[in-house]
């Protein structure tokens, strides 16, 4: 992903002249995009890598009409971070599972042969689905319907508001509740490594009031 050494990038700076289309928009907004990527993934080196990837994708994009090139690039960048995060979390969960099951000890992922990744992934997928089914089932009806319409029927928030006869902000509230609730489940099930989420709302994490010992 990074053909040149650390600190180097193929993305040309603002003075480069020969680029066009989306790539040109990227060059214009390079600094802001890098700042966003750094804030989004919390790691400057990784942000550079991702900017590089963004540059490759943008350069390959056939030049055509794009409403707002800048917003388009930010969205692309945002998706790149999410994709990287998904891969990373899955790999971590798989490695940890494999290490515990096969060797009974901690070890470096690189030291071992491929643990039949596809079969593992199939199992992981089924477990994920089961976990989500439970989480979705425990949502209040309003939030569940809004989520269904939005995510599975692909209906826009404005249309959902019309369909359900509620306000646009009501739809937002439903969706927010649904996502707030569901975001707990991956970490709770040990799917995604709970490193990032261990301090945020596991059921056992309630802090009891101090000084009440009798």
């Amino acid at each position: 992903m990074k053909p040149f050494g650390p600190g180097h990038t193929m993305v040309p700076d603002e003075n480069a002249a020969q680029v066009t289309g989306l790539a040109q928009v990227l060059v214009e907004h390079r600094a802001e995009l890098l700042r966003f990527l750094t804030a989004r993934c919390g790691n400057a080196a990784e942000a550079e890598d991702l900017l590089q990837e963004l540059w490759i994708k943008a350069s390959r994009q056939p030049s055509g009409p794009i409403g707002d090139g800048r917003a388009y690039l930010f969205r692309m960048a945002n998706n790149l971070v999410l994709d990287a995060l998904k891969m990373q979390r899955r790999a971590m969960a798989r490695d940890r599972k494999w290490i515990v099951e096969e060797t009974g000890m901690e070890g470096q992922a690189e030291d071992r042969p491929d643990p039949a990744a596809s079969a593992e992934e199939e199992i992981a997928r089924r477990q994920e689905a089961e976990m989500l089914r439970k989480a979705v089932a425990s949502l209040p009806p309003g939030a569940r319907e809004a989520l269904r319409l939005y995510r599975f029927e692909g209906i826009s928030q404005t249309e959902i508001a019309q369909l359900l006869g509620i306000s646009r902000s009501g739809v937002e509230k439903h969706l927010a509740l649904a996502m707030k609730h569901l975001r707990r489940s991956p970490a709770d099930c040990g799917f995604y490594n709970a490193v990032a989420s261990g301090n945020m709302g596991t059921p056992g994490g309630q802090v009891p009031p101090a000084g009440q010992v009798t």
Binding site: R40, P141, M179, K180, P186, P203, Q206, P209
Partner: protein
């Protein structure tokens, strides 16, 4: 979860939803991310959860009527303006059916009943409050703002405090109202225990002379036999500890301990007549029901016998 964490998650969700639309403020989002590293962690979780949903359409149940005790006629809503005046393209007919069902579900006066088997279950309320319903328990929620509830069994409540909403929970002969934040309720065979971890609440009952105010770190045990309520201070972390696989008792009557073990540890256990008045003080680990039962019988110097398809606590033969 602290209020700050709640607020961060809410902001993360709002940013995530906005990022899917056209009017996203990417600079504002960057600044929000930079303001606090917890913002990024929260956003990661929300975005990952949403990505999971998108990856698993099969996790979404088919269109259903969620009300367990659906009461046909009297729950019919008045038709909402706009619903019937919408123009439908051909393919939207299915969607309109979804909508009609969905609107019925929100009808005022509808009742939703949640019940659990072997496992506990989390219930999310519209206002962001959370309830963890214990195994073998039942919670009925009624009212447009989900403001009336009735509990049989146990539940942990994490309720967002809203002075404008008159939330009331009925458990046995008690009514719990004027509620703020976190507390646990256990109700079985008329015996009710309420334990407050955070905030405070009001406990009233026709059986009691006057309502009680119960603050964080306090619990009340109501015994219907004598019509008495006993208030005690709680060790820190005691309220809702079943969620961590422990049950603690302070001079609790043995039948109540047995009822709790049956609910939480999944073992059927009864108490012989001769020892029903014995009281137990101590903590039981409930991950393994049989082990918990053995611990209890040893601590109390009782005989553990088989009884039908379960167990029975009996006096030791002399």
């Amino acid at each position: 979860m602290t209020n700050t964490e709640q607020a961060i998650i809410e902001q993360a969700v709002a940013w995530h939803l906005a990022s899917l639309g056209d009017a996203m403020d990417w600079d504002g989002f960057t600044q929000w991310l930079e303001a606090d590293p917890r913002h990024r962690a929260a956003f990661d979780e929300v975005a990952l959860a949403d990505a999971l949903i998108a990856d698993h359409p099969e996790a979404m149940p088919p269109v259903e009527v969620a009300n367990d005790d659906w009461r046909g006629d009297d729950a019919l809503p008045t038709p909402r303006k706009g619903l019937f005046s919408m123009r439908w393209a051909g393919g939207a007919i299915a969607a309109s059916l979804v909508a009609v069902l969905a609107v019925w579900q929100f009808a005022p006066g509808s009742t939703v009943t949640y019940s659990t088997g072997m496992e506990s279950r989390e219930i999310a309320l519209e206002d962001g409050s959370r309830i963890e319903l214990a195994p073998h328990s039942k919670l009925k929620i009624e009212g447009r703002e989900e403001e009336r509830m009735a509990l049989e069994g146990g539940a942990w409540f994490d309720i967002r405090h809203d002075p404008s909403r008159s939330l009331a929970i009925t458990a046995g002969a008690l009514e719990i109202s004027d509620i703020g934040t976190q507390f646990d309720i256990q109700s079985a065979a008329g015996q009710v225990r309420v334990q407050v971890a955070q905030g405070e609440l009001r406990v009233s009952s026709e059986a009691l002379g006057k309502p009680l105010r119960l603050a964080a770190g306090h619990g009340v045990t109501f015994d219907p036999a004598g019509g008495t309520a006993q208030v005690a201070t709680l060790p820190s972390g005691r309220a809702g500890e079943w969620r961590d696989g422990r049950l603690s008792f302070d001079a609790a009557p043995l039948p109540l301990v047995a009822a709790d073990l049956s609910r939480y540890a999944g073992v059927k256990v009864s108490v012989a007549e001769d020892v029903r008045n014995r009281r137990f003080t101590g903590t039981l680990v409930i991950r393994d029901g049989k082990a918990a039962l053995r611990d209890l019988s040893q601590l109390m110097d009782l005989e553990l016998g088989r009884h039908g398809d379960g167990y029975r606590l009996e006096p030791r033969p002399r």
